[in-house]
């Protein structure tokens, strides 16, 4: 599965430029504490978070995550979107809660 396949669902809206949407996806990781993400997320995971912070992208880049999904309709700062475009990391926003996001992704075929 690729990031672009996730975007086929009406729940998920791409808020960064059209970069990195061919990234492969191999699992879901949900957390708002970056040290847990650093310690436990794996390459090509999707990160679901409500943490509206530029350091999310530092971690996503270091771990080669496939994309970042902001749940609960979090309004993401322009500086974060701009940094994501520099790093080719797709940013996705959804109105779903974090748990609904996990379920929706799982139902569409992403699992770990």
């Amino acid at each position: 599965m690729k990031v672009k396949n996730i975007l086929e669902s009406e729940h998920f809206q791409l808020i960064s430029d059209n970069l990195g949407i061919e990234n492969e996806v191999n699992g879901i990781f949900s957390c708002d504490l970056l040290s847990h993400v650093m310690g436990f997320a794996n390459e090509k995971n999707i990160l679901i978070t409500v943490l509206n912070n530029i350091n999310v992208l530092g971690v996503a880049s270091l771990l080669d995550l496939s994309c970042v999904i902001f749940s609960h309709n979090i309004q993401v700062n322009e500086s974060i979107i701009s940094k994501a475009n520099d790093l080719d990391i797709p940013l996705i926003r959804t109105k779903l809660s974090t748990s609904e996001t996990v379920i929706s992704l799982y139902q569409s075929g992403v699992n770990n």
Binding site: M38, E43, N55, G58, L62
Partner: protein
């Protein structure tokens, strides 16, 4: 390959630049042909330690030496020091400020994560400053075949 040596300054509370040292080093490790798994280990150690200096200390620096056989990393800061290293090494124990927590840090997982990924770790601290020594051994299987 030639030895790669760098020294970077780390500024107090400069959270938006945190991760730069780990990113630059990741690029060098990839250039040297090291595997993704190995690069990830070193990157986690560097990132967590860099964040610690940014959020807990008055500022400091890190020196890095990468050879074909090992990586040596020394973080030094100018205080205020760690009260109890045993407590600091306990997963979940945290003294993080609200600044750190608002930025997604302060879970109390930094030092335990560093210990888990490194081959040698030596942490010493006084009020004048903290020193963290890390060593990663590079074996032949850590290079991409």
């Amino acid at each position: 390959m030639e030895t790669y040596s760098k020294v970077y300054n780390i500024e107090k509370h400069d959270i938006s630049n945190a991760g730069t040292i780990a990113s630059l080093t990741k690029r060098e490790l990839k250039r040297r042909g090291l595997t993704r798994e190995f690069v990830k280990k070193v990157t986690i150690g560097l990132y967590e330690a860099e964040i610690n200096v940014v959020i807990h200390s008055y500022g400091g620096n890190v020196s890095l030496d990468i050879t074909d056989e090992y990586i040596e990393i020394i973080f030094k800061d100018t205080g205020p020091g760690i009260d109890s290293i045993d407590e600091a090494m306990t997963a979940g124990f945290s003294t993080a400020s609200s600044l750190a927590i608002e930025n997604g840090f302060g879970a109390g997982m930094g030092l335990p994560n560093i210990k888990a990924v490194s081959d040698e770790m030596l942490l010493t601290s006084s009020k004048e400053g903290t020193r963290l020594y890390l060593k990663f051994y590079i074996k032949s299987e850590n290079y991409e075949s």
